[in-house]
Symmetry: C2
Subunit: 430 residues, 2 copies
């Protein structure tokens, strides 16, 4: 079993459903916070659980460089390493080797690049990306693609798209041959129908360890790491659960190339499909049109993942168009810059106008930050460069995003469409 | 009512008791985390509550500079500003104007110094320190003293001690004349016998606000800020509760000067007495002797507060000697440098030896960090300069300190003495 996707309700193009993965069940459409190097910056995992995060994203490029795939593998994969027993998705590293590295050399084989940490030279290919992602052990992993730059002429978009298609086939080949090497061990979490922080079944081994007095997390980690895993041996994980590899559609901003990329990716065959190469500097209206055009070519019965998007209005809009999964650094990165999304618009908390504002950040928000602290305090924390500013701001922005998606899911099920709640706006507050 | 101190058990010189303050009850001996600018760095207040923090310390010097006393006053004092309804103690600013400011001018009147933030010139005196601390509204405030430098010859220790005594009298005079200006409003938390995160009674006004749907914290903040407070008007806080001003004993490392300082401070009369001017570079054995000698001159029926101390072994030792309250930046500051106190000794988590260590940080520790994460993960977070490193390290170190004091209190009540739990050591792990 790798992944199951069940659509339970639709409204126009939007779908509300469940992604059943080896570690947990995820309600869709879903927004995935980014936990770049195995941490959603500043937020402990138990707080992520309380916020209702069921799936988060790890960046293979960053983890490969530090702490390294081997370290993570020995901890039982990312789940064991970061003590997270819900769902993880890793990207392929394809985006960062392009976006973070000016000096790189791209051939049919792969990409040679330099570490942004220490300048050392590395090489990523479809095969090595799969190897890394198998070692990291996320539930969902991504094909190694080339993220086409913007702007690009038609010829460039086409050759890039075609190489992505060839790399997708190589990704799948390597993955199918090696997916048994995932370091999950005999114990991993079985999904069940309940969502959120409810009980999950552990395999017998982990359950025995728990009875012996270990904490759930350390039992899971020990069980996950305990399985011997000689290179090249195809060993199935418990119950036959494996990772799932998603394909990525490229093609720049050309509708026809997008169609062709979709068809070629579907022809190779994946349990889910992502739309990559968006949010690379194109106008917002172009993004919308390209995504809409691409969605039309993706199978309806498989999850559709729009990578790297977006603002609160965008995630609601794209969910309305039939996207099932999205990820973006925006809520967490904006939080660290004191930019907070509220039901009345975006607020820059560092502004002097908030210095003596005793009101809640967002009276309509139920998160613990809005329920407890004043704007004056949040502003003070930011002005004083206090770590708590980053922590509280991130808690709020994540809550805002997760609440937005929760309302979208609810409205799909109720048949009400997916407009964001009235007043939600990413525009700066006047 | 300002403060009540009840000793409930003794064992040799150690006392276990309760400090009953306007906002809450604190079990003693107690260790107070430092929340310099109104935040215990990186830890949200609800997490502090869960860790069992009942009293924290704010630094008047820092808060005076940013965000400023007036801002805090308008938010209902520090309790309202930082949404903390347990106990707060502020220091007088005396220590920082000396320790953070090379360029300063000390006269009988007070201290002229420059802000470390922007170089602007300021002046602190006993009167202005009291004014600031009244505006900040902590439950316990400290007399404005001169922290004698180390080393100092006898003449210098004497003249410094005598000025501290004169400043103590001026502090008390100003405080008694102006304590009614504390910005607590008609609502503040009544203490009750239960300790920890239990229910507390709110005054009628705040209770009504809660019933109207406000959160407890915002109700408290609104109630605290709502009382009009024209300058110079002596208005009692609800139920007559006021702040308490503690005196500080100085005298350098000279036993006779310490005795004289104690007597002169007691002669002025305070509800509690602190031992200041320690941990200024003196040898550890000297600290112990001076504190022991000074304690002998302090009244047994009043709380004794040793400022700026110490390691886990020291806080247990001093509690055994009869100290009731201590504060120190060590657990929080060490945490930010990856130095973690464990039952097997101090660990520097950044060391390469932990890079693949799947074990718990401290198997004997029940904190959420030790219950969930591996040393490898903590080491990775620190190496990657992640904010979560600071957050998790701080949670652990604070838990370690608070658990240490909890065991000390327990052992006093059981009559077992106050040695730290076997194995507790601040020495580096071999």
């Amino acid at each position: 079993m790798s992944i199951q996707f069940q659509i339970e309700a639709t409204r126009d193009d939007a779908r509300a459903g469940k992604l059943i993965t080896p570690h947990a069940v995820v309600e869709t459409p879903v927004f995935m916070p980014v936990g770049t190097v195995g941490t959603v910056k500043g937020i402990p995992q138990d707080l992520l659980e309380e916020l209702g995060v069921n799936i988060l994203l790890g960046n293979t490029y960053h983890l490969y460089l530090r702490p390294g795939v081997e370290t993570v593998r020995q901890m039982g994969g990312l789940h064991g390493f970061m003590s997270w027993d819900r769902v993880i998705l890793t990207d392929s590293g394809g985006f960062q080797v392009f976006s973070l590295n000016e000096l790189r050399k791209v051939t049919e084989e792969g990409v040679t690049f330099r570490s942004h940490l220490d300048g050392s030279t590395h090489f990523f290919s479809p095969e090595s990306s799969m190897e890394a992602q198998i070692g990291l052990g996320a539930d969902i992993i991504m094909a190694f693609d080339e993220c086409t730059e913007f702007p690009a002429n038609w010829e460039r978009m086409r050759t890039s798209m075609e190489m992505t298609a060839r790399w997708a086939a190589r990704s799948k080949k390597y993955f199918e041959e090696h997916k048994g090497e995932v370091p999950w061990g005999r114990a991993h979490v079985r999904p069940d129908a309940s969502i959120g922080a409810g009980e999950r079944q552990l395999s017998v081994q982990a359950a025995e360890l728990r009875c012996a007095g270990q904490t759930r997390a350390s039992a899971l980690r020990q069980a996950e790491a305990s399985r011997k895993n000689p290179a090249g041996t195809s060993v199935s994980a418990a119950g036959g659960a494996t990772q799932s590899l998603f394909g990525i559609v490229q093609g720049g901003m050309d509708f026809e190339l997008r169609r062709e990329s979709a068809e070629r990716t579907i022809e190779i065959g994946f349990p889910g499909y992502a739309i990559g190469g968006m949010s690379v500097g194109e106008p917002r209206e172009t993004s919308r049109e390209v995504v809409k055009a691409t969605l039309a070519h993706l199978p309806k019965d498989k999850p559709r993942y729009l990578m790297g998007v977006g603002t609160p209005e965008e995630i609601a809009m794209y969910a309305g168009m039939g996207v099932d999964m999205m990820d973006c650094v925006l809520p967490t990165r904006a939080a660290r810059h004191g930019l907070l999304f509220t039901s009345a618009g975006k607020i820059s908390i560092k502004q002097a106008r908030y210095a003596k504002d005793s009101g809640s950040l967002d009276p309509a928000c139920r998160c613990r930050v809005c329920q407890r602290y004043s704007r004056a305090y949040l502003r003070h924390l930011y002005a004083a460069n206090e770590v708590l500013a980053q922590v509280l701001n991130t808690i709020h922005n994540l809550s805002f995003y997760l609440d937005t998606m929760q309302r979208v899911r609810h409205s799909i099920r109720l048949g009400e469409g997916t407009r964001p709640p009235s007043g939600v706006s990413s525009q700066p507050k006047p």
